[in-house]
């Protein structure tokens, strides 16, 4: 049943009793062509594109908890493609293109809102760095504008221009950037995959990976053994623990990133803004809550919750950027588990084990990459070769010395 104002009206008449479930709740079959581990955004998108683009539908997505319970269900919903390096920029721009057509593609209103992403800068050095990034975007046909202080003041006159410790000198603006209702992305992809025959199986935790003579055979789960020809790992927040089941040690440390929402208020700030002199970024959801965050806590964690020093650090930056939010109240804080990689860029690649594919290392930038990650991981699995757009995201890039280090912070995950 397609979703539209007409199906909504038709069902309103009958008290909404006849809506079909958005996805089935199937028991696992004994075997599949492809098994995806992880029913988050990337796993579900991969299954969706395997079915839609590659016609591979004998697929199962195994989620250990409820679908979308990972980072897709707990992020600050920002989408953008303002990346610097050739290994990143085209990939994230393709993701933006997919976002722009996604709702019509999987017939689910994920509220893709392109209200602009503005990165503030506070020094000549930062201006030059954003100029370098903006020019790289232009060279790939991606929209970018370099605003001076007046340009920022015109957009957000209530920012702190007069009493700032690090005065706002301008910003890099990507108008096509914005936000998306994160849960709806998981639900849209799940519904789209399920409607094409993919089994989305919740409460099914992978406990072991069976490999014989270097070839993947299947997975042990809490609901029995399931065989497969190809196995795609997309378990962000648990990548190392799952990869260990296949004897893989990854260039990743898992960290907690806290995010916050304020009480819902009338329209206060229109687009997404990131602070350049401290760790803070903010946007206002369609329900009116200021959704904001800043930096990871900095220590390894799987606890999906953080501590007060980071809360203070983020909010000191927030109030210094926007003095007017001082009296607004912080309603709720939460935490997600970030796979921080050794260069701040992800991994979409084959592995030494035949038929085993890895999608991991998204740091805190995984949400915006969801469509392109699904597209490229589906291609990698279907064709057993890297997609052109994700060719740089090789697992062995660190050993060969081809890090994609946008921040230039080196081999320490919590600095990216």
């Amino acid at each position: 049943m397609t979703y539209s104002v007409f199906s909504l009206l038709k069902n309103a008449v009958t008290g909404h009793k006849n809506w079909a479930p958005a996805w089935r709740d199937p028991a696992p079959k004994p075997a599949y062509d492809v098994i995806i581990v992880g029913g988050g955004g990337h796993g579900l998108a991969t299954a969706y594109y395997l079915a839609k683009v590659h016609g591979i539908t004998n697929v199962a997505v195994l989620e250990k908890s409820w679908l979308g319970s990972g980072n897709i269900g707990r992020n600050t919903t920002i989408i953008r493609s303002n990346y610097l390096f050739p290994g990143n920029n085209p990939f994230y721009e393709w993701s933006m293109k997919l976002w722009e057509g996604l709702e019509q593609d999987f017939n689910f209103n994920a509220m893709v809102s392109q209200r602009g992403v503005l990165n503030l800068y506070h020094s000549d050095a930062q201006r030059d760095a954003y100029a370098r990034r903006g020019n790289a975007m232009h060279m790939h046909g991606v929209d970018a504008e370099l605003l001076d202080e007046q340009g920022v003041r015109d957009m957000y006159p209530f920012f702190n221009f007069d009493d700032a410790r690090f005065p706002i000198r301008g910003g890099l603006l990507q108008r096509r950037g914005g936000t998306v209702r994160h849960d709806a992305v998981a639900w849209g992809y799940a519904r789209g995959a399920d409607s094409r025959g993919v089994d989305v199986i919740q409460n099914c935790e992978v406990t072991g990976i069976r490999i014989e003579k270097g070839v993947v055979k299947g997975v042990e789960t809490n609901r029995g053994y399931i065989a497969c020809n190809k196995l795609g790992l997309a378990a962000a927040g648990n990548s190392s623990e799952v990869a260990k089941m296949a004897g893989l040690k990854l260039p990743i440390e898992s960290h907690v990133l806290q995010a916050f929402v304020s009480e819902a208020i009338k329209p206060f700030i229109d687009g997404v803004v990131t602070y350049g002199a401290g760790h803070f970024y903010v946007s206002q959801s369609d329900k009116g809550g200021l959704v904001f965050g800043g930096d990871i806590d900095g220590y390894n964690s799987y606890a999906r919750r953080g501590n007060l020093p980071t809360v203070e650090h983020v909010i000191e930056a927030g109030v210094s950027m926007i003095p007017a939010i001082s009296r607004v109240r912080v309603l709720r804080s939460w935490g997600g588990i970030m796979d921080m990689s050794m260069d701040g860029s992800p991994i979409i690649d084959k592995t030494d084990v035949k038929g085993l594919y890895l999608n991991a290392g998204w740091c805190y930038g995984g949400f915006k990459a969801t469509p392109a990650s699904g597209w490229c991981f589906a291609h990698t699995i279907a064709k057993d070769e890297a997609h052109k757009l994700s060719a740089a995201y090789r697992l062995d890039r660190f050993k060969r010395g081809f890090a994609i280090d946008e921040k230039g912070m080196g081999a320490q995950p919590n600095l990216h």
Binding site: A277, R305, G410
Partner: protein, 984 residues
């Protein structure tokens, strides 16, 4: 509903009159009133509009769980949206406005949403607004955003100040009710350091609203005696108006003290709010229990309140919620409301007890209907009557103007679940109890399921005594105070067959039908149902709605409540202002300011300052008549190049390194060698990260056989010291080396130019400066100005004949003035970071722009510095294929082609004729400057195989700033390539 002030009773001070305004209408109330009680005292029950359907709403609670009565408190820059009228202490001149309505609270256009409510069920927006695509940003979303949100925040800076403070105690007691006071008394009497916090202005908790007796006296009197005893104990800190909002690792609690929210404006010198971070050895969770609403038709009308809130209105505020009340309860506590209201002279038309087998309980002369339910309230802006379905199915209408409902009590478990544990369902109490949180945090009283006063008092004392004993105290276990009061029993009633909409989450308008709809569409897990219906996602975070919602979801999915479980409890228990978390560290105080010892002198010279990390550094020194910074900077460069210039370089990191293994230590952290450096000489050093990329650079001088003086870049000073500490303590603890920051012991100034030596000669005692006595890279202690101990380094970043004079910081101000005096005859000119940058670009020295965290030593043309004779940080990883490949972007000079053509940093380089694309990218410009010496713009860049392409013409792409131009790659040393000026 016509609520009114009772002639007598309540804890308000009836001799005081406080004037206040609500939606520009004036009223009066008493000291001790909340805004909500004062409004109700004046017959105002309509206080807000719900989020989606804009239904008329009144106060439903008496405390911080309030979902409906939210107002914009105060005006102008102090306006606070979404403030709970039930928690606002009335003060003279208070102004409040209702929210989320247009044009007014009484006539809100938004209410038409109720007509469309059949369409606007849970999750409707996921199924529509998708066509036509462009409409989303242009029409649909702007409409949704304008309708969303409740109160509106002001766009002006906050005039009030906020404070942060650390607290330490043996026992933190969270909640000042019966159990909390007993816990604090037990601990205080045992001599422990106690902090007791309560969110209300007066401690006493539920006792403030109840009519109970302790030791034969009214409970309020017992509360006063307990508080007096606690106040007399030196080691006890009482924190009223303070919410413990979060429990964090290390048994650390976040608490917000509303120091001055109960007055119009904070008194001078005092903060509005104080944010506590309390480190407690142990804590008692004495947060009581929250009364659950019942789910029946129109249960959201103004006048329908929690039964405990309605009796609290009478007992605490002397206000009657209505003239004729119906009590609807599924547990014993409803009877107390019937008794208290009757005693206050309010007519209680009936008590509806849904339990057919309910025991005989004292309802006074109020008629009790057992096994009956209220199916619907009739009336829109207020209650007119209730439709009652009796045990035998018969229906009757009972006129009334207020309904007191009680669906049982949910212990306030929140804090105990902030660190990953889940609450435990208790079938008998029909409630979730706190999980076992060990010795750090122990629930007591109603929060632990002890629902009677006597049990709460005993439990508070006992739980505190157990914790104190574990901490080594010897608490006396006195007999707990004696209290009567009814036992407690409940039998769950999760929803009632109704004709009208029955609400589960009042603020987000989630109705009883939305849960089965979510389950039907596959959103079966409690977290999926919450997100799909927005149950519990409003400003009250499900305090009233979550358990009812979970029970309805259980019914819809055929699971037990325990199986459905709860969603995640998260800080903050109640919302906390941004300002409190930020404290004083906002605006200009966001970060500390670091000034050099010559800052005052630079100000006198008219310097324009720029941020350099936490430091401020002079950027240039404009003079009257100069038309912009370029003119000032050009003058400064020419003065230094042609005569002499002085520049404050105190912000460089300076690290004293001593000990027998100091030399070996340098060898292991720098990629170049140090054993051959003689005493009295300096050497340029390059430091790598372990991944082989360049980390930092600077000169290090040898002042003695085992005494080195290292300088680092300003930006990396702290990171380099931390790196040295790691390398020594974690990698090579066997080395006998000591190092400490001396950055701030020395004020340091560069004196550069042909007249530098002549200038310095006037100040230096006992040496005739020349190439023998002070050759290039000399570094030695000297004495200046008749006695000041200093250090002189002949090092040059500008490429000029230059020195860096370093003096103990307290003398720096006097010394730079002496230097200026000595150089006056040579027209000595102060120069700032911009001129320094021009000169270093002219000389092709690398700096921050080139040390971008991805460049190797070879990329920067410094490959030959990498020793092959010793191990050092980064050596191995620097040999990887990708780090040494031929097509890496390397350091090169660049000059524009064409007269007057400028260069722009951040522009990219393309081969002439190549189509613009990322694949064709050859590199980028890292730094640019106008060179007065070459009378042209010059720049430095990182370009593929740049060192082999000197003289090649390239295309510069700066699309971001709408410019494309031709340029030529060249030797990065633009000026005086033979360095003749260094040695003149």
């Amino acid at each position: 509903m016509t609520s009114f002030r009772l002639p007598t009773g309540g804890l308000v001070d009836r001799n005081t009159t406080l004037r206040f305004q609500f939606d520009a209408k004036s009223f009066t109330g008493h000291a001790g009133d909340s805004l909500a009680s004062a409004l109700l005292a004046n017959g105002v029950s309509l206080m807000g509009r719900s989020f989606k359907y804009h239904r008329p709403r009144g106060a439903v609670t008496g405390g911080s769980a309030e979902p409906n009565a939210l107002v914009e408190l105060r005006t102008g820059a102090r306006r606070e949206p979404n403030t709970r009228a039930t928690m606002v202490e009335l003060f003279e001149g208070l102004e409040a406005k209702s929210q989320n309505r247009w044009p007014s609270l009484e006539f809100d256009v938004g209410a038409i949403n109720q007509l469309a409510s059949p369409l606007l069920v849970a999750g409707f927006y996921y199924k529509t607004f998708m066509w036509p695509k462009a409409f989303w940003e242009k029409i649909y979303e702007p409409l949704i955003r304008r309708a969303a949100g409740l109160g509106s925040a002001v766009h002006a800076p906050d005039p009030d100040s906020y404070e942060k403070i650390y607290g330490h105690c043996d026992l933190l007691v969270i909640g000042g009710g019966a159990a909390g006071l007993m816990a604090a008394l037990t601990a205080g009497r045992a001599g422990a350091r106690v902090m007791i916090a309560d969110e209300h202005a007066r401690l006493g908790g539920a006792l403030l609203g109840e009519n109970e007796t302790i030791n034969g006296k009214p409970s309020i009197q017992w509360v006063q005696e307990a508080l007096a005893e606690l106040a007399s104990m030196k080691e006890v800190t009482i924190l009223p108006r303070t919410t413990v909002f979060g429990w964090f690792d290390g048994n650390i609690y976040g608490a917000l003290e509303r120091v001055n929210d109960h007055v119009a404006t904070p008194p001078e010198y005092e903060p509005r709010q104080r944010y506590w971070r309390i480190a407690a050895k142990a804590a008692i969770l004495a947060t009581g229990a929250e009364e659950r609403p019942l789910v029946f038709g129109n249960n959201d009308r103004p006048g329908v309140m929690q039964a405990s809130a309605m009796r609290g209105l009478a007992n605490r505020y002397g206000v009657a919620a209505g003239k004729s009340v119906v009590v609807f309860t599924n547990n014993h506590s409803g009877y107390a409301t019937a008794r208290d209201l009757t005693a206050a002279g309010v007519n209680v038309a009936a008590l509806i007890d849904s339990r057919a087998n309910a025991p005989k309980l004292n309802a006074g002369k109020v008629p009790v209907l057992k096994g009956a339910v209220v199916s619907d309230v009739e009336g829109s802006r207020n209650v007119k009557s209730v439709r009652v379905v009796n045990a035998d199915g018969g229906v009757e209408e009972i006129a009334c103007d207020a309904v007191a409902m009680s669906g049982g009590f949910s212990p306030v478990v929140h804090l105990s679940c902030h660190r990953g544990l889940k609450p435990v369902w208790n079938e008998k109490l029909a409630a979730f109890l706190p999980p076992d949180t060990g010795k750090e945090l122990v629930a007591a009283g109603a929060a632990a399921g002890n629902m009677t006063l006597a049990a709460a008092l005993a439990d508070g004392a006992e739980k505190a005594a157990k914790l104190l004993t574990a901490l080594g105290f010897k608490p006396k276990t006195a007999k707990p105070p004696q209290a009567d009061g009814e036992p407690y029993a409940v039998s769950p009633l999760w929803s009632v067959q109704s004709q009208h909409k029955a609400f589960v989450d009042f603020q987000n308008d989630v109705t009883a039908k939305d849960l089965p709809l979510a389950a039907r569409e596959g959103y079966k897990d409690v977290e999926l149902a919450k997100r799909y219906t927005t149950l519990g996602m409003a400003t009250d975070q499900g305090k009233l709605s979550n358990v009812n919602g979970i029970a309805l979801l259980a019914g819809a999915t055929g699971k037990s409540i325990a199986q459905v479980g709860t969603t995640t409890f998260r800080p903050n228990y109640t919302p906390v202002s941004f300002g409190a978390f930020a404290g004083p560290f906002t605006g200009h105080h966001f970060n500390p300011v670091r000034k050099t010892p010559m800052h005052a002198w630079a100000e006198e010279q008219g310097a324009v300052f720029v941020e350099a990390g936490l430091w401020y550094r002079p950027q240039w020194f404009p003079r009257a008549g100069e038309k912009g910074w370029l003119e000032s900077v050009t003058r400064e460069v020419l003065a230094a190049r042609n005569s002499v210039g002085v520049c404050d370089v105190s912000t460089l990191g300076k690290i004293d390194i001593q000990g027998p293994d100091a030399g070996e230590f340098l060898n292991r952290v720098y990629c170049n060698g140090w054993s051959t450096l003689e005493v009295g000489k300096a050497r340029y050093g390059l430091m790598l990260r372990e991944d082989g990329v360049v980390f930092d650079d600077g000169t290090t001088s040898r002042l003695g056989p085992d005494h080195f003086f290292m300088t680092t870049t300003t930006a990396n000073a702290a990171r380099v010291l931390t790196h040295l500490e790691f390398c020594h303590q974690a990698l090579w603890p066997e080395l006998d080396v000591q190092y400490v920051s001396v950055t701030e012991q020395w004020g340091q100034m560069a004196i550069a130019g042909p007249k530098a030596r002549a200038t310095l000669q006037k100040l230096v005692d006992g040496i005739t400066l020349n190439d023998e006595t002070f050759p290039y890279m000399a570094a030695r202690p000297v004495q200046i100005m008749g006695g000041i101990p200093a250090r002189l380094f002949r090092i040059s970043f500008s490429g000029e004949h230059a020195y860096e004079l370093s003096v103990p910081a307290d003398y720096a101000d006097a010394v730079i003035r002496a230097v200026m005096h000595a150089g006056a005859e040579f027209n000595i000119t102060p120069y700032g970071t911009e001129a320094l940058s021009v000169m270093r670009i002219e000389k092709g020295h690398v700096a921050g722009g080139e040390l971008n965290g991805n460049t190797t030593a070879a990329d920067l043309g410094l490959g030959r510095m990498m020793s092959t004779k010793k191990d050092y940080i980064g050596r191995m990883m620097a040999t990887r294929e990708g780090m040494t490949r031929a097509d890496r972007e390397v350091f090169v000079g660049i000059r524009p082609i064409g007269q007057g053509q400028k260069l722009s940093a951040g522009a990219h380089i393309l081969n002439v004729g190549d189509k613009v694309s990322l694949e064709a990218d050859q590199g980028y410009i890292t730094a640019v400057a106008y060179s007065p010496m070459l009378e042209s713009w010059i720049g430095l860049a990182l370009v593929q195989r740049g060192n082999k392409r000197h003289g090649e013409k390239v295309r510069v792409f700066d699309g971001l700033r709408g410019q494309h131009y031709d340029a030529e790659l060249c030797d990065p040393v633009h000026f005086d390539p033979e360095n003749r000026r260094l040695h003149v």
